[in-house]
Structures are given as structure tokens and as C-alpha cells.
């Protein structure tokens, strides 16, 4: 890539006040560096990914509301986690986390267990327990 071709298509990093460094060749074919504000190709896949994540969150929200899944599933999606990551943060085995995703099982969880989830999701126990998908 030539230095003059380094894209300047304002992306997410730029919105947050920074730019990205590229290695590119100058007019004499020598490697040099240039700063980029972003690149459309990347913005597009980034936007698509965010849409998909939002869909997963919305599905989880609807699931909680309909009583199919417990709030753990919603907050897991909201925090961009999966079963394994929830398990790693809480120290609770994955198969148990999956069980706790059932509303009936979730209802019976102790405060001690709820606290582990609440900490992992960075919310209070009440927020977790009282989330109804609204």
C-alpha cells in the first residue's frame, strides 16, 4: 500500500480520539508509517458484528420476558460472554451455569451464588434477580 492510499474513513477508534498506525511505502518505495482514522471495510464488518450482538441481546431479553431463560442468559449476552467465560468469571462449572439458565432453577439460587454472577456481570444482586426482560 502506498502512503497516499492509507484509508481515512473515520472509524470507531477515531471516534474515541485515536488513530491507527499503518506501514506503507512512500513515493520512493521506502517503508514509512502513516496514521489512519479508519477503514470502511472494517467499519462495515464491525457494524455487522454489533448488530448481531444486539440481536443476541434482544433474543435473550425476550426469552427472559417469556420465562424461557433466566436473567443470567440476558446478562451473559449483554456482557458479550459465553458459557465458558461466565464459568471462568464466576468459578462455577459450565454445566451448572447452564442449569442456572433455567428460570425455575434460578429462582432457588442462594444469595451467595447470585453474588458470584452479579459480580461477574458488574451489577447488584437485586438487579440480577429482578430483571424481567422489560
Amino acid at each position: 500500500m502506498k502512503k497516499s492510499e492509507v484509508p481515512q474513513d473515520n472509524g470507531r477508534v477515531f471516534e474515541k480520539g485515536s488513530r491507527e498506525l499503518y506501514y506503507a511505502v512512500d513515493e520512493n518505495g521506502e517503508y514509512t508509517t502513516a496514521l489512519s482514522t479508519g477503514w470502511d471495510a472494517k467499519n462495515i464488518v464491525q457494524d455487522h458484528t454489533m448488530q448481531e450482538i444486539q440481536e443476541r441481546i434482544d433474543t435473550a431479553r425476550a426469552g427472559v420476558k417469556a420465562g424461557h431463560v433466566s436473567p443470567i442468559v440476558y446478562f451473559m449476552e449483554l456482557r458479550r460472554m459465553d458459557w465458558q467465560i461466565v464459568s471462568d468469571y464466576t468459578g462455577i462449572w459450565k454445566w451448572r451455569v447452564k442449569r442456572h439458565a433455567k428460570p425455575a432453577v434460578f429462582e432457588r439460587l442462594s444469595d451467595k451464588t447470585l453474588k458470584k454472577y452479579a459480580d461477574a456481570f458488574e451489577i447488584s444482586i437485586d438487579e440480577l434477580r429482578n430483571y424481567k426482560g422489560n
Partner: protein, 332 residues
């Protein structure tokens, strides 16, 4: 307040950047491309059985820490590394190092990094940054992928040092402790290039050009196998990994080209300059691949065709790189 004399410099990739900035601080003037090249940073591995963000795993670089370790081995540097189970101790060691005038590299997770854009905050644990001072409970942070320096409070830093998930950093701290008075650059460069050639030509189906071919064959089947919606999501993750902040496809090829050019001049090996030019061209094609992939999200029709085309493009890249590394191996 402690503020060490440390020059923050933005780089394309975090691990190279931390290594280059820390070594410069220690008196060894080494550029990011040289770190990347001598650390044999160019790599490709496909991990279909490992789901990352709900998509098949793909990595364009070796495991975190390897670039710096290989660099150290080839230049004869010594690096001190520590991991912790105790968070308090991890902070104590960092504070102690700062007091002793040692800027420290840290492996961190990006999900909880407050200065990162929301769209980049995933549970990715192989990010690197330097701590070069402390004021009150605020650490002074040089993140080499950022233009400016930042600050993180004690709890904020603890959170990112002890993020969980794949490749959890466990407080991983590292810094160079010894740099030899003389360095045999020619030997280091040649050895590193050979290693990269061997990695990319490895007789392992998921690694290097073979890995690229395996991905190319998989892409073609995605729409039929997992449905268009999921295929599009997989593809988005692939391109994200490929072009995320200076890493992966095009970005890494350009850094490697810059390395070949710098190395060719440094050890007076003009043939490497031609290889640099060729790799720059391959980098351009990787970026064309990303542009082609991004079209999937604009036009809704002809999905199978698009995936066929992408598959063919990736196979072509694998062919070009196979030929490239075979020839490169011959001249070093």
C-alpha cells in the same frame, strides 16, 4: 508520583509495540518491524474446534508472548516474566518495579479497558501495554495501539490484568533485564526468516498456507452448512480478526514487508528488498479480500457466488504465499 522516563510511541500491533518501546527504553534501538520479523510474528492458524465470539477460531499470530520470547532468544536478551494467583501480590510487584525505575509490560484483557472503543471491547485477553508510572492510585499507561497515553486506576488495572477466559493473563508482567553488548543481527535475521518460512509452510493442515486452504474450503460451504445469516457472521469475525488494529492479513504483511526492507539494508542482503516489494503486493491482496468480504453486507443477492469468490481469493493468496516463502527460504 512516579513517572519514569519512557517514550510512548504508537505502533501497529500491541506486542511488537510493547517490545520495541521497552527495548528502546533500555537502550536498544529496534523498530516495530524488526521486533515482528526477528520475533517471527507472521503466522496463521485455523482452530475450527475452538469457538471465539461464537465463530470458528482463527489466529494470525503465535500465542501471546512468543514474539518477544523468540526475539529475546535470537538477540540474546533476557526477559523477566511473572504470573500471579494473588492479585495483591501482582500489584505489589508492579509498584515495586516502578519504584526501581523499571517500566513494565503487562498482558491484559481488553473487555474492561475504558479507553477502548465500545466496538472493540471483547473478551480478548492477549492485549499488551506498558505501565511507566503512577500518580496517587492512577497508573500511567502506554498502550502502543493508541496515539496518546492513558491512565487506569488501581481497580481498573487489576480488572484487566485478571480478566478471565481463553488465554487469561493472570497478572502477567514482563520486562527486559539484560541486553548483550553486541548482537549478531545477520544470524538473528536469517534464523527468524527461516522460522517464518517453516511456520507458513508447515506440514500441518491447520497451520500456515495449508490452514489458509482449509479455511478457503470451509468458507465455500458455510452458507449451505450453517445458513447465510451465520455464514455472514463468521465471515465478519474472520475479517475483524484479520484487520483489527494492525493485526492479521494486510496489516501484518505490511509490517513484514517493512521488516524485509529494513533487514535487507541492515545486513546488506539486497535480495530481501525484492521480497519486501512482493510481500507488499500480497498485503494489498489481503486487503482486497477484506473489501470483497465487506460487500456481503451491502448487496443481499448472490451469496453463494460471493463465498465462492472469497474462497477462490483465499486459495490464490495461499498459492502466492507458498511460492513466496519457498523462494524466501532459498535465499537466507
Amino acid at each position: 508520583m512516579i513517572q519514569l522516563a519512557f517514550e510512548h510511541q504508537i505502533t501497529a500491533h500491541c506486542e511488537n509495540g510493547v517490545a520495541s518501546n521497552l527495548l528502546k527504553n533500555k537502550g536498544l534501538d529496534i523498530s516495530e518491524p524488526m521486533v515482528f520479523g526477528i520475533g517471527s510474528g507472521l503466522f496463521y492458524v485455523y482452530l475450527p474446534f475452538l469457538k471465539v465470539n461464537h465463530a470458528p477460531g482463527l489466529s494470525y499470530r503465535p500465542a501471546p508472548g512468543w514474539i518477544f520470547n523468540r526475539l529475546a532468544k535470537r538477540l540474546g536478551l533476557k526477559i523477566k516474566r511473572q504470573k500471579f494467583s494473588d492479585k495483591k501480590k501482582a500489584q505489589h510487584v508492579l509498584d515495586e518495579n516502578l519504584r526501581r525505575n523499571i517500566p513494565c509490560g503487562l498482558q491484559v484483557g481488553v473487555y474492561h479497558l475504558p479507553y477502548f472503543p465500545e466496538d472493540y471491547r471483547f473478551h480478548f485477553n492477549a492485549h499488551n501495554l506498558v505501565v511507566y508510572g503512577k500518580e496517587g492510585d492512577q497508573y500511567l499507561i502506554s498502550d502502543p495501539t493508541m496515539e496518546k497515553v492513558h491512565r487506569l486506576s488501581e481497580p481498573e488495572l487489576e480488572k484487566v490484568r485478571f480478566s478471565k477466559g481463553v488465554l487469561a493473563p493472570r497478572g502477567h508482567i514482563y520486562y527486559p533485564i539484560d541486553i548483550p553488548p553486541t548482537i549478531d543481527w545477520e544470524k538473528a535475521i536469517k534464523k527468524a526468516i527461516k522460522k517464518t518460512c517453516n511456520d507458513m509452510l508447515a506440514p500441518v493442515p491447520i497451520v500456515g498456507v495449508r490452514g489458509m486452504r482449509m479455511v478457503a474450503r470451509a468458507i465455500r460451504k458455510w452458507p449451505a452448512k450453517v445458513g447465510v445469516k451465520k455464514a455472514n457472521y463468521y465471515l465478519a469475525q474472520m475479517v475483524r480478526m484479520q484487520e483489527e488494529i494492525g493485526t492479521g492479513g494486510g496489516g501484518f504483511r505490511y509490517i513484514y514487508s517493512a521488516f524485509l526492507q529494513e533487514a535487507g539494508k541492515k545486513i546488506n542482503h539486497p535480495e530481501l528488498l525484492g521480497f519486501s516489494e512482493e510481500m507488499t503486493h500480497i498485503g494489498d491482496l489481503w486487503r482486497d479480500f477484506a473489501v470483497e468480504a465487506s460487500r456481503v453486507y451491502k448487496k443481499r443477492s448472490n451469496h453463494d457466488d460471493v463465498y465462492e469468490k472469497l474462497s477462490a481469493d483465499l486459495l490464490h493468496l495461499a498459492d502466492l504465499e507458498e511460492a513466496f516463502f519457498k523462494r524466501l527460504k532459498q535465499v537466507v
